[in-house]
Amino acid sequence: MSGAAAAGVVADGAIEDLRRLEIAVERDLFRFMLRLDTEAGEDALIKRQTQTQAFVLRQVQRRLEEAGEAVRSAAGARAVEAVEAVLGAPPSTLPLDVRTELDALVNGQMADVAAVFKAGAFEMRAAVAEGVLSGGSLADAVERVQGELRTTYRRAQAAVDAAIMAVGRRTVIAAAKDSGIPDLVYVYVGPKDVKNRPFCSQWVGKAVIDPENLDNGQGLPADDFCGGYNCRHSWAPAPIDDVVADGIPIYRSSGARYIVEV
């Protein structure tokens, strides 16, 4: 099953649950209307309506707890499918060296992907609770939940994309470090525009000898993630002689210029 299809199953299951809930709410309100004492005063009507809403809300919360648990328990499987959607194939079909790197990084990233789904479940609950509390229609809440599900899956995919990009950078740097080539440096390549993070603006067009010691201010390893999530840049390993010949300045992570004797 593709990742998108799998997400559809999650969405369809949760939405189906909510649709049943919507019907139940309508039925409750209809019963309430049948029992309505037209002679009762406005205060009594409001009280009765508030009681019904509170009852409905409890039902909604209970069912959403169940739906949320289902979404959470499926998060691991969905995360794998989100990985497949990005890879275009099951991770098991990848070349061994790529798979090893992928496993190492994606396993670490899985927690993030699962957290995205978990946060999505909370968002969905909040959306319905708010819809009911504010007296809005549950159909609107269902629409909002559908939107949240789409957004949640996209967030999960974004986390996977970031992991795959990180694997790419890690594989290239690991191959460079394993090569035995003396005096390799890493040139920070990629776009130079107004969207650059401060880290990217600082390093683009420059070379560094130890990218693993840089701090991108995002709490993510700079050798794997460059400037952070969704960063468009890469580290390009190169022999120091070539970089000097190209006139690219070379630094240590401390920021001190690395002076090369030619």
């Binding site: 990005v86 990848l94 035995g180 080539i181 990629g190 107004v194 969207k195 960063c231 390009a236 390993p237």
Partner: protein
């Protein structure tokens, strides 16, 4: 110069594994750096982007240099892969079936559309060879200068023994 014939000792063996590691390390970095400078693997500058694509990049506040990079996913997937059976180094997109998120450009930002790009091996082939509408922008492979640089690295490494 007379030929010296040794009758003792061991025959020097070519260290293919070491050579493969050097090639695997050098080639992806060379492609990334050169492509970033807008130079093709023939040594000539890349064909410029079309007017409409440049306008899209500007609308998305993106750098307009021809570097074949939007999300960076394709370029980040370039790797050297050593096949141990035949001891070959393949420079490829790994995973070759991998995709990048498709983005639309506008209002100064790149927004994910929810769709995915073609697989990197397909996208890479189109970019390298062109597709009739889009001119070829060959970026895989090495220029003569890069081959010279790689040869220098291989010579300076002790590959025999």
């Amino acid at each position: 110069m007379p030929i010296e014939v040794k009758r003792t000792g061991t025959v020097p063996r070519f260290n293919a594994d070491k050579a493969a590691k050097i090639i695997r390390a050098y080639v992806p970095g060379a492609i990334l750096r050169r492509t970033d400078r807008g130079i093709s693997s023939t040594g000539a500058p890349f064909a410029p982007y079309s007017k409409s694509y440049r306008e899209k990049l500007i609308a998305g506040s993106e750098d307009t240099k021809v570097d074949l990079r939007l999300t960076g996913g394709l370029m980040n997937s370039i790797k050297g892969v050593v096949t141990t059976t035949a001891m070959q180094v393949a420079v490829t997109f790994a995973p070759d079936t991998g995709t990048s998120p498709q983005v639309s450009l506008g209002n100064g930002r790149a927004k994910r559309t929810g769709r995915r790009s073609p697989p990197h091996n397909v996208l890479g082939w189109y970019l390298h060879h062109g597709n009739g509408k889009m001119p070829p922008r060959p970026f895989m492979g090495l220029t003569t200068a890069e081959e010279t640089s790689l040869a220098k690295l291989l010579r300076s490494a002790n590959l025999w023994g």
